[in-house]
């Protein structure tokens, strides 16, 4: 006969598993804070907000781009919980919450204007247009912060070559989707919706200019501009156009959202330039998210190779 010996620890004294793990998380946080104080690095390690959006599909990334930087990348959590995407609210934490309402399938992108072969692409066809690359780029916001992100996509020039622009095409205009149902921020007339951005043809054709479908090997999270966006690493972040539905080739400089809102603050070119301050703040330094100390901002965000695009131009005038 088996007589169970009562445990000498009363069940009420056993710390519930959840509390136990929460305590670990807390101690971990405290340790990280201590480490942060010693190393001057804060943020990333302390972040544990967890994902609030559905799992996104993996991408078949086959090419590691030579354009990639070897700098330390920011974490997925940092990059997905600190976003400027005014269609989903004007603070940095709203897009992670509200962008999940956006429907990214089915999705069509109209490519037309001064081209020989205008075409409406289904997003799934665009995904297959060229081998998917990984490009680890520095990304500098006009507000003075920066991140390093492993984007996935291919050069915009690939798409441009498919539609064959005519000699009249001098600029490319990009338009973000405008769906006031899901875009709670776009219901307010804060910018001239839909969000519009533009590039000169040579900038759009430049190999660094990325047509981007994903990051960290997965499709773009919605707050980062799913299902397709542009990334132009030598320009301030707002020059990228998120959730693109229309790419138009035009003969004259297209209106762009921030330039329309405040032309003296946000130029059409908006190349990263530590020597030309924003009228209200300095652009000489930036804070890489996760760093305590600010770092010097580099001309063209460190992508000096683009300098030839602007030879002979006064970058103070064409800011």
């Amino acid at each position: 006969m088996l007589i169970k010996k009562p445990s000498d620890i009363r069940s009420s004294e056993i710390t519930p598993k959840k509390v136990c793990f929460d305590r670990r998380k807390f101690l971990g946080g405290a340790a990280a804070l201590g480490a942060a104080a010693l190393t001057g690095r804060v943020g990333g390690e302390l972040l544990a907000p967890g994902r609030v959006w559905a799992d996104v599909a993996k991408l078949n990334v086959t090419v590691k781009s030579p354009f990639s930087t070897t700098e330390k990348m920011n974490s997925l959590d940092e990059v997905t919980h600190y976003n400027n995407y005014y269609e989903f609210g004007t603070d940095k934490y709203s897009p992670a919450k509200y962008a999940q309402a956006l429907r990214t399938r089915p999705w069509k992108v109209v490519v037309d204007g001064e081209v020989l072969k205008p075409k409406t692409f289904d997003i799934d066809d665009l995904l297959k247009l060229a081998p998917m690359e990984e490009r680890i780029y520095r990304h500098r916001c006009v507000e003075g912060w920066s991140i390093v992100v492993p984007w996935n996509g291919y050069s915009l020039s690939t798409l441009i070559n498919v539609v064959q622009p005519t000699s009249k095409a001098k600029y490319v205009q990009f338009l973000t989707a405008l769906d006031k149902e899901s875009m709670i921020g776009a219901r307010e007339p804060i910018l001239d919706w839909p969000y519009s951005e533009g590039l000169r043809m040579d900038e759009a054709m430049y190999p660094l200019t990325l047509l981007c479908f994903g990051m960290y090997g997965e499709e773009l999270p919605k707050q980062n501009g799913a299902p397709v966006r542009t990334v132009i690493p030598w320009k301030y972040g707002f020059k990228c156009c998120k959730s693109i539905v229309h790419i138009r080739f035009v003969s004259s400089q297209p209106p762009t959202a921030w330039n329309t809102y405040a032309p003296n603050e946000y130029g059409f070119y908006s190349n990263v330039n530590p020597n030309v301050d924003h009228p209200r703040w300095s652009q000489a330094t930036e804070r890489r998210l996760g760093d305590f100390f600010k770092r010097k901002t580099l001309m063209f965000n460190g992508y000096d190779q683009v300098a030839s695009l602007y030879s002979g131009m006064d970058l103070r005038k064409y800011y």
């Binding site: 807390f26 946080g29 405290a30 990280a32 804070l33 804060v42 943020g43 990333g44 302390l46 972040l47 544990a48 907000p49 920011n74 959590d77 940092e78 990059v79 919980h81 600190y82 005014y86 004007t90 940095k92 934490y93 507000e143 912060w145 804060i190 910018l191 809102y261 301050d277 209200r280 703040w281 300095s282 804070r287 998210l289 996760g290 305590f292 100390f293 600010k294």
Partner: protein, 212 residues
């Protein structure tokens, strides 16, 4: 319970209530909820609470008249000092966490960036008010002069709101909300002044109350 005892016993409670925003911010910091840009969150939070406490402080005079609760004034020094407390933390965040004591850069900022000039002005205007907040200083200055000096809070609040308005990139709704509140609070003083001018005598009573 007499009013006097109520005020005396409630003061510690009000004091701890005023510490709640800072406590929440510290808790966020310890649990890793300050987000990807913690310094920005700390800057915005301390700045916001400076303006909020300035508004609370400015609201006391109109409220005590409108509600006929003269004893409300006895919390005013505390809320005013909490405005100064958050303003100091806000400035320290800029000097220490944001600029890391790059004095030359900051000097340039104060000279070149109107929104920083304005914010710095708002803070500097609070300094003499905090310094003369003790009973001894009120006595030394004399009630009338003390009161005149402390009208600087009007300028400080206006400068604080302009500072906020000038720094936002696009969404001006929040600074405009503060602007509306400060405008109402300042306008109410004009109303009080006009009403009292018709009823001579009330001012003297008020003055006597304030000094005691």
């Amino acid at each position: 319970m007499s009013v006097d005892r109520f005020v005396r016993y409630s003061k510690p409670a009000v004091f701890f209530a005023c510490l709640v925003p800072m406590g929440l911010l510290i808790r966020k910091g310890l649990t890793g909820h300050l987000g990807a840009n913690p310094i920005e969150v700390i800057t915005h939070s301390t700045g916001d609470w400076t303006l909020t406490f300035l508004c609370i402080t400015l609201a006391i005079t109109p409220l005590r008249r409108a509600l006929r609760l003269p004893w409300l004034i006895r919390y005013r020094r505390m809320t005013g000092l909490f405005a100064f407390f958050h303003g100091t933390l806000h400035l320290m965040t800029y000097v220490w966490l944001d600029k890391f004591f790059a004095w030359r850069e900051m000097l340039k900022d104060v000279g070149l960036r109107p929104f920083i000039t304005m914010g710095f002005t708002a803070f500097v205007l609070m300094v003499p008010l905090a310094a003369t907040s003790t009973a001894g200083m009120i006595r030394r200055l004399g009630g009338r002069r003390w009161q005149e000096l402390h009208r600087l809070i009007y300028l400080s609040a206006v400068a604080g709101v302009i500072h906020y308005y000038w720094l936002v990139k696009l969404d001006e709704r929040l600074p405009l909300r503060y602007a509306a509140i400060v405008a109402i609070l300042l306008a109410s003083r004009v109303v009080i002044y006009l009403v009292e001018r018709r009823r001579p005598g009330t001012r003297a009573v008020e003055q006597a109350e304030r000094v005691t």
